[in-house]
Each structure stands twice: as C-alpha cells, then as structure tokens.
C-alpha cells in the first residue's frame, strides 16, 4: 500500500540553492579537467550505454552541427526519458500529484529564466552562436534541473541525472552521445 506524504521542502530548497550557485555555461570551450572527466565517466556508467570516450565541441557552430546531425543516435535521450518517466512515477506514488506537479513547474520556470540569461552571456562572450542556440542551451539546462528534481523527489541518489547536473554546475554543457563518444562543450 502506498503512503502519500507532503513534499520535502528542505530537499527542494537545497536544490534551488544548487541551481542558483551553479556556474552555468561558464567553462564552455575550456580544456576539460580531471574532475569533469570523472563526472562524465560517472554519467556514462549510470546511463548504462557501455564504454564511451569523452569528446569536446570547440565552439557554438560546432555545437549546432553536432546537435543537428540528422543521422545522430538518440539512444541516450531515450534512455534518459525512460528513466525520467520511471522516476516520475515513483515520485507520484510518494507525493500528492498537484503539489508535485506545481513544485516541479515552479522550479523549472525559475531555473529556466536563470539559465537562459547565463546561456546568453556565454554566447555573447564567445560569439558566433545562432540566436536560437541560446534557447537550445537554456532548454537543455532547465531539463537537467527538472530531471534532477524528479530523481531526488523519487529518492534516487544514484541516477545519471546527478553527474549530469554536476557537469552543468561546473560550467559545461553535455551535448549527448555521438558514435562512441559523449560530447561536452
């Protein structure tokens, strides 16, 4: 029998603080550090898509080319989606549906406005970004916040969404898996 409880306010408040203090898009194009490679390896491992190398996009046009590849695999996207749906179902079993939905919507809306501004700043600093790509970056980052919130509310501390968020928090943008490589920007 399921037991529905009130949403964990402190857990959501802690996540909000992490979102506010993350270095969104601050390290795009910089050489990868050991810590970032370690987070990338943890993400690959948790996603369960086998052994992958880590690659890097150089600039915004390179990012746009990678993300628009018509023949690019989206197995990683489908894996993330399947996991998100499972975690959301777990969270829905724990918390009142409307309160859960409202808190996720409010959090994602707040995060979306923040990361959009950060993406715009990064694009202006580096140059050569298509205007729509700022929206793409903001969509990716706010999706990462949403995924992490769902995982934490479901009580799942070992999901790939933890290491994925750490990459964003370090100023990176994980672009997904192309061939046998996870590409970071």
């Amino acid at each position: 029998m399921s037991r529905v409880v009130a949403l964990p306010g402190p857990r959501l408040a802690a996540l909000r603080a992490e979102v506010r203090t993350a270095s969104w898009f601050a390290a795009l194009g910089e050489p990868l550090t050991e810590g970032e490679c370690s987070d990338a390896a943890a993400y690959i491992d948790a996603l369960g898509l086998g052994l992958l190398a880590v690659g890097q996009a150089q600039d915004w046009p390179d990012v746009e080319r990678i993300l628009k590849m018509p023949d690019g695999t989206t197995a990683w996207w489908d894996r993330e989606e399947a996991l998100r749906r499972q975690l959301l179902a777990d969270a829905e079993a724990l918390y009142p549906e409307h309160a859960l939905w409202s808190s996720l919507t409010d959090l994602t809306t707040e995060a979306g406005d923040l990361v959009h501004g950060k993406a715009a700043t990064a694009a202006a600093r580096m140059g050569k970004a298509a205007p729509a790509s700022i929206h793409v970056a903001a969509g990716a980052a706010s999706q990462a916040v949403y995924q992490l919130a769902v995982a934490r509310l479901a009580g799942q501390p070992a999901s790939p969404f933890e290491s994925k968020f750490r990459l964003y928090a370090a100023g990176r943008w994980p672009l997904g898996i192309v061939g046998s490589r996870l590409i970071l920007f």
Binding site: G72, T74, H98, T105, T108, H135
Partner: protein
C-alpha cells in the same frame, strides 16, 4: 468610454465590481489556456522533435509556456482568485483545439506557426491594458510568444524544403487551422464589450479575427502553404 487606470493589485480592490470581474476572467482564461497548450502540445512535441537541437528548443518552448501559466496564476493568486479556478478541470471548458492530441512533429510546427500567432494577437491586445499588472505581464510574455511563432516559421522553412515535408505540413495546417479563428470569441460577446468599455482590451473579437486571418494567410504564403476556408458561425 470609462477612464479607469489601476496601477497595482492593491488598487484593484477599490475598482468597480464589473472591472474586477472582467480582469479576473481574463487572468483565469490565460492561466488555463497556457497550461492546456503546454500539456497537450508543447510537452508531447519533445518526443517528436527530429534532432537533439529541436528537442531542446522544444523543451525551452514548453517551459516558457508553463512559465506563462505560472505568471498568470501568480497574478491571479495576488488578486485573490483561488488556485483551483486557474487549472484545467475547474469547470471552464477548454478551447476546442485542445481536444485533439498531438500526433506528429509537423502538427506541432503548424501549431507554432499559426496558433501562436493567434496567441500573439491576444497578448498584443493587452499591451495597453488599463490594469497595469496585467499589461506588464503581457509585455513580459510577448517576446517569448514571438519566439514561439518564429520557431514555427523556422521549422516550417525546414519542412517545405522537400515535397514530402511540405505535404505533411500542409496536411497539418488543414487539420488545425479551422479551429483557430474561433479563438477570438463570438461576434456579439458581452465579455468583449465589457473589456473594451474599461479599456482592458482594445479591439472587438471580429476585428482581431480579421487581423488574424490576414496575418495567418501572409505567414502561410511565405512558406508556400495555403489556409483552408473556414466558415464562421454568426
């Protein structure tokens, strides 16, 4: 015409009852329809988007639409409207277009191209609203609505590059466009009369509808698309 200007939510408490009710109806309507749009079209469209670029762009659009709901709901809460009246299922009938769940990427592109243009006209009409918190909210929302319509244009431009893509997009336009002119309400709407009396809104439903049909025809033509004929109920 009645010259009332309400600069804050606090001042609204002293406004005439008809004015307060009219503003409340508009806020509720926007809060509900933004939420329906995000749930029925924008969020499901992420799965249909063909590349990660399009998927994340659609994510951002969906989040902005949810954000519009949040903004209107927050204004409604400040005005004393109970939250349950600003979410679906509270008795207010949704617009008919929301009864047709999304099935393809081309349908989503057609909706962004044409339905978000209708949304732009609705928001434009609030840009000079005498209730300034609603006017300000409309001004904050407008750039995002324009981006959503541009999203529709950009992906329409992609789709019409091939005959197959253009045919699928035209089929989606044919399916969804007939529901859009009725977005603007009845010709003899009592609500619209009250909105204009208090300068909450500026134009009649018919004026807006005519403007919409003209602009929708122009934007469709840019991409070699045609709009099906729609017969209007009196």
């Amino acid at each position: 015409m009645t010259d009332v200007v309400i600069k804050t939510v606090e001042e609204l408490k002293d406004a005439p009852e008809e004015y307060r009710e009219a503003v409340g109806k508009l806020v509720i309507s926007h809060a509900i329809n933004e939420l329906y749009g995000a749930q029925v079209f924008d969020e499901p469209a992420i799965a249909y988007a063909p590349t990660p670029y399009a998927k994340w762009l659609t994510c951002r659009v969906a989040m902005e639409e949810y954000g519009h709901h949040v903004r209107f709901k927050q204004l409604g809460l400040q005005m004393g409207i109970p939250e349950e009246r600003m979410v679906p299922g509270a008795g207010k009938k949704p617009l008919s277009i929301f009864e047709f769940p999304l099935k393809t990427w081309e349908e989503f592109v057609a909706i962004k191209l044409l339905a978000d243009l209708a949304e732009i006209l609705q928001v434009e009409d609030l840009l000079h609203c005498t209730f300034h918190p609603l006017r300000n909210l409309a001004r904050a929302t407008m750039p995002e609505e324009r981006f959503h319509a541009q999203f529709g244009e950009d992906f329409s431009a992609e789709l019409v590059k091939t005959p197959e893509g253009k045919a699928r997009l035209q089929a989606a336009v044919n399916e969804y466009y007939p529901y859009l002119p009725s977005f603007f309400g009845g010709s003899k709407s009592r609500n619209n009369e009250i909105f204009r009396k208090w300068k909450i809104k500026q134009r009649t439903n018919d004026e807006m509808r005519q403007d919409y049909v003209k602009r929708a025809t122009e934007v469709a033509a840019k991409y070699g698309l045609t709009l099906p004929e729609v017969r209007q109920a009196a």
